[in-house]
């Protein structure tokens, strides 16, 4: 038996699902059904497998007792996911609603193209964090990798640590907040002084995931808008000369 039901109340059961070497489709179906029904799910032996908890809906909660591979929680439209370990590439890619917490580090492209919801990485995030993001929030307590926010359309990426090179490269209306040092800005990225109320909104976001960002010297990275129009006056920006 793989999905273990505990407790008697129909509303908030705890379901245990073993991932290990079981067929992914079965594992995911059990997770998906339990989360859709609003249960709490514990996934044991996730063994860094790819594509766990893809396409969740509903109000339930799933905890992975260990690390997960690529695309954990990808294309989900609900649910709360907690990874008690590290996560691979594309964690929460295409997320439209819901919440993902990674207690360790997240690999490349966390929150890629997401359209809503919140992703919270307690450790560091790899390169291209929030790439092509459309909306929603990403909070990284540690450092962010190079090209974070690449071509982000909207939403916020908030990093309490330092940023590697090329942060905020080719942004549309996405915003990257860096509390620590910025190694190098991306093409067309500019740092602007945030308004007090914007900082208050960031503090609010951080408080909602239980993080204290007070006392940080926020750098708000936005588009310089030199890549927004295909006009010769901006040629130097896109030729990078």
């Amino acid at each position: 038996m793989s999905a273990l039901l505990q407790g008697s109340s129909a509303e908030a059961q705890v379901v245990t699902v073993e991932a290990a070497d079981r067929p992914l489709r079965e594992v995911n179906r059990e997770i998906r059904e339990a989360v859709a029904a609003g249960h709490r799910v514990e996934v044991v032996e996730p063994l860094s497998r790819h594509n766990l908890a893809v396409g969740l809906t509903g109000e339930g909660h799933v905890t992975f007792r260990g690390s997960v591979g690529y695309y954990c929680g990808g294309l989900s439209a609900g649910g709360a996911i907690e990874v008690d370990g590290n996560s691979g590439w594309g964690t929460g890619e295409g997320l439209s609603a819901g919440h993902i917490t990674v207690n360790g580090n997240a690999g490349m492209s966390v929150g890629a193209a997401m359209r809503g919801g919140t992703i919270h990485v307690r450790g560091n995030a790899g390169p291209r964090c929030g790439v092509a993001q459309k909306a929603g929030d990403i909070v990284v307590e540690g450092d962010i990798g190079y090209s974070t926010g690449f071509m982000s359309h909207g939403g916020r990426i908030v990093c309490l640590g330092n940023s590697r090179g090329s942060v905020g490269d080719s942004l549309w209306e996405g915003v990257v907040w860096v509390g620590g040092e910025i190694e190098r800005l991306g093409i067309d990225a500019v740092v602007v002084t945030p308004e007090a109320e914007e900082v208050a909104e960031v503090d609010e976001l951080l408080a909602s995931v239980g993080v204290d960002g007070s006392g940080l010297d926020w750098k708000k990275v936005v588009a310089g808008q030199k890549l927004w129009y295909f006009e010769a006056r901006d040629a130097k920006q896109w030729l990078m000369i």
């Binding site: 992914l24 990808g74 594309g90 295409g94 490349m108 359309h153 927004w228 295909f230 040629a235």
Partner: protein
């Protein structure tokens, strides 16, 4: 100074009377009826130009770049004159060695199934014909054009593809079967829309501009387009060329598994690419686990591309198809992974030739646009405003499409009458299918899918060399 300008003779040589000298010079110069506008001593090309290198187009191109300081963009497809054409291949119908089927009485199967080969999918796509309408995004096309294509495809028993701009409500409603495209930019991609799709397509490239991302100029980023693509209104959108969450083919395999999980293994996964190294690219794409490979040759249409990519990149469709088929044969994937070919398909004869060369299905973009009303001789003054005329228009990138097909202007869009345009699309698709099956029957085939390279002969050395089809007369493929 050299005397090759036709100035009247004035200077006289020593000892010659000036008037006599001028008269003689006049006689020599013009006595044989020469044109006074054409100086003596220069060839006939003096007025005409005729440099094959510095053609009027090349000169105008330099002048334009010198003014704008950037490369030029435009819609439609390549103008490169050196591409091979499907017209260089002809069918050899059944005669003594084979029996033809009755063209008007016997049945030739045209049903086309996509996504059944690997047995991974619960609901493969079943089309009534080996043709469907290519990905053309809302943004590139108007909402009315999208709706008309969807309705026309439904009436004809085939499908369309969303293109990269997200799924439009109207098109979901009108289409019976709809492919949902995930481009590298991932505009409006979420679970809700994925679950409404009948297939999901990862696009790696397209024939008109391989190696680059989508392009949509500000004139077409209306409020609705901006909302669907999460862009500021009026910006010039130049999308990414690489996907945000995978790089190589091994990652793509995992991505495809994710899409299968998100759709609960219900619908097929397509991979679309521009033809550049079709043999190897197809072999690698087949290995990613996709159900269908869509290969778009360099003749492929576009809403907007850098002109230099249209004319200087890619592999022509006719050459790409046999290479892709060889790759599937060599990797044992024929029958498992289906091959859809596109790029420059104009007629049922082109459809039949693409199938004979190895495609399982074809996709039409430009031809479907033309059936909708593109380049039709109406609103002629609006073509003139764009500096063009019906039959020569390629101005989709301007957003000022005179017939409302490739615009976001509400007034222009209304020029597409959805019902009438959908009926034209329907009739055109039916006519294409009829043409393709007529050729198949003449070749003795009870299914269009039984057409094979043996049914073809090449009229030119190039066509034979590009496709491996026997050269007509010689009856064997041109080879080195």
């Amino acid at each position: 100074m050299a005397d090759d300008l036709n100035t009247p003779a004035t200077a006289a040589g020593p000892g010659v009377a000036p008037e006599a000298d001028a008269r003689l010079e006049d006689l020599v110069a013009f006595g044989d009826g020469a044109d006074p506008a054409r100086p003596a001593g220069v060839p006939g090309s003096y007025a005409r130009g005729d440099s094959p290198r510095w053609s009027p187009e090349a000169i105008a191109d330099i002048q334009a770049k010198a003014q704008m300081g950037r490369y030029q963009l435009r819609g439609f497809s390549t103008f490169n004159k050196h591409l091979p054409s499907f017209d260089e291949l002809v069918f050899q119908p059944a005669t003594m060695t084979r029996l033809p089927l009755e063209g008007y009485r016997e049945k030739c199967d045209t049903q086309t199934v996509l996504g059944d080969g690997l047995g991974k999918v619960e609901e493969p796509i079943v089309l009534d014909m080996p043709i469907y309408i290519a990905a053309m995004s809302f943004g590139a096309l108007s909402a009315n054009a999208k709706a008309a294509l969807g309705r026309g495809a439904r009436k004809a028993g085939t499908m369309t593809c969303t293109g990269e701009g997200g799924m439009l409500e109207e098109e979901r409603e009108e289409n019976r079967t709809l492919v949902y495209q995930l481009s590298p930019a991932r505009y409006m991609i979420d679970l809700d829309h994925i679950r409404k799709a009948d297939a999901v397509e990862l696009v790696v490239g397209q024939g008109a501009k391989p190696g680059t991302g989508g392009l949509l100029l500000g004139m077409k980023i209306s409020e609705r387009v901006a909302r669907m693509r999460s862009l500021p209104e009026g910006v010039d959108q130049r999308s990414t060329s690489r996907h945000p969450d995978f790089l190589g083919a091994d990652d793509m395999t995992i991505k495809i598994e994710e899409l299968r999980e998100a759709t609960d293994h219900r619908v097929p996964v397509f991979v679309k690419m521009g033809a550049t190294r079709p043999y190897y690219d197809t072999a690698v794409a087949a290995k990613t686990g996709a159900d269908v490979i869509v290969l778009d040759g360099m003749e492929g249409g576009t809403g907007a591309s850098p002109e230099l990519l249209l004319d200087n990149t890619g592999v022509p469709t006719m050459a790409a198809i046999p290479a892709a088929r060889r790759a599937l044969d060599d990797t044992g994937m024929t029958g498992k992974v289906k091959l859809v070919a596109a790029g420059g398909i104009r007629s049922g004869a082109d459809v039949a030739k693409a199938l004979a060369l190895g495609a399982d299905c074809v996709m039409i973009g430009s031809a479907a646009m033309i059936a909708l009303g593109c380049n039709s001789p109406r609103y002629v003054e609006d073509y003139q405003k764009l500096g063009t005329e019906p039959g020569a228009c390629h101005h989709c990138h301007t957003g000022l499409c005179p017939v409302g097909v490739t615009t976001q202007d509400p007034l222009l869009s209304e020029r597409v009458d959805v019902e009438a345009a959908s009926e034209r699309v329907h009739r055109f698709l039916t006519a294409l299918t009829m043409e393709a099956s007529l050729l198949a029957k003449a070749c003795g085939k009870s299914s269009v899918h039984n057409l094979e390279p043996e049914d073809l002969r090449a009229l030119t050395l190039e066509a034979s060399a590009f496709t491996g089809v026997p050269l007509i007369g010689a009856d064997r493929p041109f080879s080195w």
